[in-house]
């Protein structure tokens, strides 16, 4: 935990030092595409004037071939993909970028809760008290090959006062902290770090994309009163739950838009590309009487003139797509129940991600979730073009928002090196006391 915290703290310090002077490239590593966005952050004093905290210099989406289920599957191919998109996005922006913030959807994220309580040392809560409270948490023992990617304080309790965002400076006797710990596969993290390092770019942030998508698509109000974001990716569908302005839960299932396409391809005996095109052009979830009459041409130019032209009705296509989506929703629903999110008072659902663009998806979602469902659109992106607010750019936009104003993490308070420096300070003081 401490070793990991040191590494995370280094990244955070790097982020703090470079954010004002150089633009940072945001990367969302997905299974079907990589999205990149070069963002110039503004100094806080200019932020007031401009009304937003960053400016988008360039953005780009490119196909991702080395990633499966949000994890690096083929390192060589992934390095090629990442170099290609970095080269092109840097060219588009016309500047050399040296720092990247990265989010990814894979690595089997798993949420843990932990609570720690300590007595406040001086009556007034200091960062040191918060750090001690955090260290007092009972951290779950992770199996080998897993590590924490986030350790977010989600709630502070000072004496009997709960629901505090930031207890610093308040007067109290006992401080308790509730933490949300998010664990992922170490190999996923290390592979990504390795690939990014090979492009001569330094990481300033590494996080998980469901969290970022949530930051991009949820309104402040939704985030406070509680909302769940369902991020339909190509190979993973992630659920993230926000409440009281904090991330509460992240989990994903390894089914996504890719599987819908693959179903179409198998069922109709057509190529993957063709199936993808059908899904995008004609895909849907609710069959109506009109769909029985609407026929879709399946010819791909390879048939001879004697062969019969193959056509299907839209109803048939919907019949292939729908079961897979229902499966996804059932899984999502079981995830939400398992996480015990019935307790959250407001249950807004927001559907986001590339695969959420299938026509009529929100209708199906409403039926399954028995709640009103909203299509997620990136809302916190001042000055973005229409293309930059599409579903595919949700996670990178959230990443920009997050990099501009990161959520507090455990490693912001707990300094792995502080033990030694504290000792030094103490020895200096005692030396003064003894000699004067």
């Amino acid at each position: 935990m401490i070793e990991n915290a040191r590494h995370k703290r280094e990244m955070r310090i790097r982020r703090d030092s470079v954010i004002k002077r150089s633009p940072i490239v945001m990367l969302d590593i997905g299974s079907s595409k990589i999205a990149a966005m070069i963002v110039q952050f503004m100094a806080p004093e200019n932020m007031e004037q401009a009304g937003h905290s960053f400016r988008i210099l360039a953005s780009l989406e490119m196909v991702s071939q080395g990633v499966r289920y949000g994890e690096v599957a083929t390192m060589v191919q992934f390095q090629k993909d990442i170099m290609r998109i970095l080269q092109n996005v840097q060219r588009a922006a016309g500047i050399k970028i040296d720092y990247a913030a990265v989010c990814f959807s894979g690595g089997r994220p798993e949420s843990f809760g932990a609570t720690g309580e300590v007595a406040v040392e001086s009556g007034e809560v200091t960062e040191n008290d918060i750090a001690r409270a955090m260290l007092a948490c009972e951290f779950p023992i992770l199996p080998d090959g897993r590590e924490f990617i986030h350790a977010l304080p989600i709630n502070f309790t000072l004496d009997h006062n709960t629901g505090l965002d930031d207890p610093r400076g308040q007067i109290g006797a006992r401080l308790a902290v509730d933490m949300h710990l998010l664990a992922v596969d170490s190999s996923t993290v290390h592979n990504l770090e390795q690939a990014i390092r090979s492009t001569d770019i330094e990481l300033v942030s590494l996080t998980t994309s469901p969290f970022m998508t949530g930051l991009a698509v949820l309104t402040e109000d939704e985030m406070k009163r509680g909302a769940a974001v369902i991020d339909f990716g190509a190979m993973t569908t992630s659920v993230s739950v926000f409440y009281a302005g904090q991330l509460m839960y992240v989990k994903n299932i390894r089914i996504g838009g890719y599987h819908v396409t693959s179903d179409i391809s198998q069922a109709l005996g057509i190529s993957f590309q063709m199936a993808e095109r059908l899904k995008n052009l004609h895909g849907g979830v609710e069959a109506t009487a009109q769909d029985d009459r609407e026929t879709i041409d399946l010819s791909d130019g390879s048939e001879t003139e004697f062969q019969e032209r193959r056509t299907i009705t839209r109803t048939e296509l919907i019949g292939i797509i729908r079961p897979r989506l229902e499966e996804i929703f059932e899984e999502v629903l079981s995830l939400l129940t398992e996480a015990g999110l019935d307790e959250i008072p407001s249950q807004r659902f927001v559907v986001a991600g590339g695969a959420s663009q299938i026509a009529g998806l929100e209708g199906l979602a409403e039926r399954f979730l028995r709640q009103r469902v909203r299509m997620g659109r990136t809302i916190k992106l001042a000055g973005a073009s229409a293309q930059q607010t599409t579903a595919g750019f949700g996670a990178v936009s959230g990443l920009a928002v997050h990099t501009a104003k990161p959520k507090d993490e455990m490693w912001d308070f707990v300094n792995p090196n502080s033990g030694r420096s504290l000792l030094n300070m103490r020895s200096i003081f005692s030396w003064f006391k003894e000699n004067w």
Partner: protein, 286 residues
């Protein structure tokens, strides 16, 4: 899902990627925008500078352009008028003006001409005018003789500043000018001029001034009397002499010299006859 199955750009190799980043770097920007152009310009200039043919060509072009401009009609001088000059001097001046054919005004070195003119003894100052109609006018201001300098053998007239005007065979014809002589007399001609001006009521009695030891003046009067002036402030000493003259008519007496070399101790030397006369007068009175 997005229709991103096509692959618009081939993936770069590691070195291609690094090169593309180098092209975007600040260093490359500075190299291409500043270092390279400046180096190129310097190189070209250096090459041209060192090549003989190019320098020759530049010189020729410069000359031909100058010729074209210089021989525009209004620059061409075809007549020279000299005013305030005697015929002899005119010949002399024309000899170094060197104008056989019409010549451009731009080709005349006026400073050089003025220098040459000023080296002529009789010419005080000169002005060269050109009116852009083909006539160049040289206006001479003749040097005015103020006194005569005698170096023991030859006479010459000099102006107030001590500059030679012309040589004289003897003093005849120039009796109105006084004579100065002695070592360094020419250099202190101005002071001599002032002394003579101060002696103005007696100017016709001044034969000449002699510079003694290159530092002080003796004024020689027509009756042979010598007024010895000090090196320091000779004018005030002279004033004292004149004062004496006004009250006692000292200079009308038979004096040999009036020594004011030390103004606090004036010495009057009289002729032996006059001295005897004075002694008799004193004896009579006693």
């Amino acid at each position: 899902m997005l229709s991103l199955r096509h692959n618009p750009h081939a993936a770069p190799s590691r070195w291609q990627y690094r090169f593309s980043r180098f092209l975007l770097s600040r260093l490359y920007w500075v190299l291409t925008r500043f270092v390279a152009p400046i180096a190129l310009i310097l190189f070209v200039v250096f090459q041209l500078w060192t090549s003989q043919g190019m320098r020759q060509m530049v010189a020729d072009t410069k000359a031909s352009i100058f010729q074209k401009i210089a021989y525009l009609p209004f620059f061409v001088v075809d007549d020279v008028v000299i005013s305030n000059a005697t015929a002899l001097r005119e010949e002399e001046i024309m000899s170094f003006i060197d104008i056989q054919a019409p010549k451009s005004i731009l080709e005349f070195d006026r400073d050089e001409m003025r220098k040459n003119l000023s080296q002529m003894d009789a010419v005080g100052s000169s002005e060269i005018r050109y009116n852009y109609t083909g006539t160049m006018e040289i206006i001479l201001e003749p040097r005015i003789p103020a006194m005569i300098y005698y170096d023991g053998a030859l006479f010459e007239t000099i102006d107030e500043s001590g500059h030679r005007v012309e040589g004289l065979a003897d003093r005849s014809g120039r009796e109105e000018l006084f004579v100065i002589s002695g070592e360094g007399a020419k250099d202190s001609a101005g002071e001599a001029m002032r002394i003579v001006k101060m002696l103005n009521p007696l100017a016709d009695r001044v034969r000449g001034l002699v510079r003694v030891g290159g530092r002080r003046w003796d004024v020689v009067l027509t009756n042979g009397a010598i007024l010895m002036l000090p090196a320091e402030s000779p004018m005030s000493a002279l004033q004292l002499i004149l004062k004496q003259h006004r009250t006692n008519e000292v200079l009308n007496r038979e004096i040999q010299s009036y020594d004011m070399r030390i103004p606090a101790r004036p010495i009057l030397r009289v002729s032996p006859v006059f001295a005897a006369e004075i002694e008799t007068t004193i004896a009579d009175q006693s």
